[in-house]
Symmetry: C2
Subunit: 346 residues, 2 copies
DNA sequence: TTGAAAGCGCTACCAC
DNA sequence: GTGGTAGCGCTTTCAA
């Protein structure tokens, strides 16, 4: 493979001159520059970024550590990251920690060894394996979830507000028996959604029965299990807030198996909005998170940290909370009692 | 940041010795090795992979170029790739070409400049931008789609067989008016599915009317558009084979808008099997592709090419075709006429 | 078994 | 403007 040396020789100039041409430094006479360009072309020369990285002590690479690629939510975030990274000349090394904290740590070490300029991370759980990197002043920003006691940079969705709005939507429809299937409560996104739900209920003066609070773990199976429990209750809820797309799928399965129709018997509202949500029967009312935007802003934040640390100033950690959007479709409707109220209730 | 030099100094040994310890060469006295290890620990030393890569002329990194991360099919493949890569000590640089051939080319150049040891690629379309890399003997394997006139390594699903099996499923159910919504026909996966469909029809002595052959482009909108055309036909088909998950969603939308129920009025069968397929109403019959397996085998194939090329032998290009699986659920059923045949048809 | 030294391909500094 | 040269952090001979 041709090196800068070969190019210099063929063009009859020095290494330094070729380097300048490569890097667009314009203190090179056009004539020489042209000769160099011709030589590069002739030799099919492509600058070796590895060598460059070693010299300039920057790899123009960032690491992205997701807890599970299979989740389409992360996929959306990934798109945002990738686009923003590319437009700033960065490449991204991708790692999947498979929801495994040990793997997360190993991956982080790998990224560090490869000298990525910084990393974006969607943490697996309450683990704080990454704290040592924060202390080492390694540019790091968290996405979607914030581990407890973590005080680094992050971009998350307004989970509290989203759950509150969703719950109020139920309340506005006339629902009284409202239930929630939560995500993992050791994760900020899981907890915040529950709190938002609680607040909306409280403000409306509605009680929250213990049986109506089902704790899931964001995965399909738990949505199914919790759904079954809720629906088999002697006085089942008329509305269910489901805190992840996977769990919503599980809940739908439970409803189908029990032949409970939606929204007639129970209204459902899920987190995350994907293509399928608006094309299934009934079309699902959902809370849409700005996935791409989260990825994009996280990348921008990381870039800021990289440059500031590079300049020696270890600036303030930032935190950005992005608004969500409630998309009302057909899976939420007034409860039957309201449509056809018993006389004594009027 | 500590370097190998600092470690050597602190441990009172030479650079070479430290290097040996790092790389597990056992010609180092245990006593010294221990001293070195202690020094590394004390200095929080992490070997610089960039420097190592420059020296050994291998980055232990591969590039993955997908046409669109947002598609859950690629996500599945990605999981397979990542796991296999990691277990072999490889990292993956990820690029999304957004179905844009120019971007695909740019990304390929970036990967090359970064001196990845090889690349896995899900090409965008008929473009052959990558041919120059093949000629350059750069280790490359294609996944899912094979550009026409490409003769490099690849792992794909048995698209022909899958479509054939799916179509026969319709035929076995008693359908006579069977239609297909194809993918992009300039891509091998799009074309092979159409051919498999054709063959099954032919073998059963069934005609294929032009109006029943709708050409889509794998995307949701085209599924919707084609679905509408099909369903508005004076003599609509009783069964539709839909060649991608996105298009199936579009088709479902068309059916909902026209209030055509599935499988009563028309049976549908889609390509790709995701969580939502078996949890919507009705549960979808699908062709499942071995996504993870495709990623895994592609990575293994790439590894073989990397080592063989490294050893100077430019071995034969390989091609692997993986079996698919038909998952019969509730969206396919016998046509109404068969359930309640008119007397003269018996 | 260990150490010294060369060099991977590039950038950047300093003379000219 | 241009060229020579040192050196980024590591591996890998070759001698000792």
């Amino acid at each position: 493979m041709a090196t800068i040396r070969d190019v210099a020789k063929l063009a009859g100039v020095s290494l330094g001159t070729v380097s300048k041409v490569i890097n667009g430094v314009d203190s090179v006479r056009p004539k020489l520059a042209k000769r160099v360009a011709a030589a590069m072309e002739a030799l099919d020369y492509h600058p070796n970024q590895v060598a460059r990285s070693l010299k300039v002590r920057r790899t123009q690479t960032i690491g992205v550590l997701v807890s599970d690629v299979a989740n389409p939510f992360f996929t959306g975030v990934m798109r945002g990251i990738e686009g923003e990274a590319r437009s700033h000349g960065y490449s991204v090394i991708f790692c999947d920690s498979n929801e495994d904290p040990d793997l997360e740590r190993t991956n982080l070490d790998t990224l560090f060894a490869r000298r990525v300029d910084g990393a974006l991370i969607i943490p697996t759980n309450a683990h704080t394996a990454e704290q040592h990197l924060v202390r080492r002043r390694f540019p790091l920003v968290f996405i979607d979830r914030i581990p407890p006691s973590f005080n680094g940079s992050a971009v998350v969705a307004d989970n509290f507000g989203a759950a509150e709005e969703a719950t109020r939507h139920f309340i506005g429809l006339g629902h009284k028996r409202i239930s929630i299937i939560t995500g993992t409560l050791t994760l900020s996104n899981g907890l915040d959604r529950l709190e938002g739900f609680r607040k909306a209920l409280q403000q409306a003066g509605l009680p929250l029965h213990d049986e109506y609070l089902q704790q899931g773990d964001f995965l399909l199976e738990s949505g199914y299990r919790c759904g079954l429990k809720l629906l088999q209750h002697p006085v089942p809820p008329t509305a269910i807030l489901c805190c992840s797309n996977q769990m919503t799928l599980g809940l739908m399965r439970a409803m189908r198996e029990m032949s409970i129709s939606c929204p007639d018997r129970v209204s459902i509202l899920g987190f995350d909005d994907f293509d399928w949500a608006e094309n299934v029967n009934p079309r699902l009312t959902t809370v849409a998170q700005p996935m791409m935007e989260m990825g994009k802003q996280a990348m921008q934040m990381l870039l800021r940290r990289i440059t500031s640390i590079h300049e020696g100033v270890y600036g303030e950690e930032e935190k950005v909370v992005l608004k969500t959007e409630l998309r009302v479709r057909d899976s939420t409707a007034p409860p039957l009692e309201v449509l056809d109220p018993a006389p004594h209730e009027v």
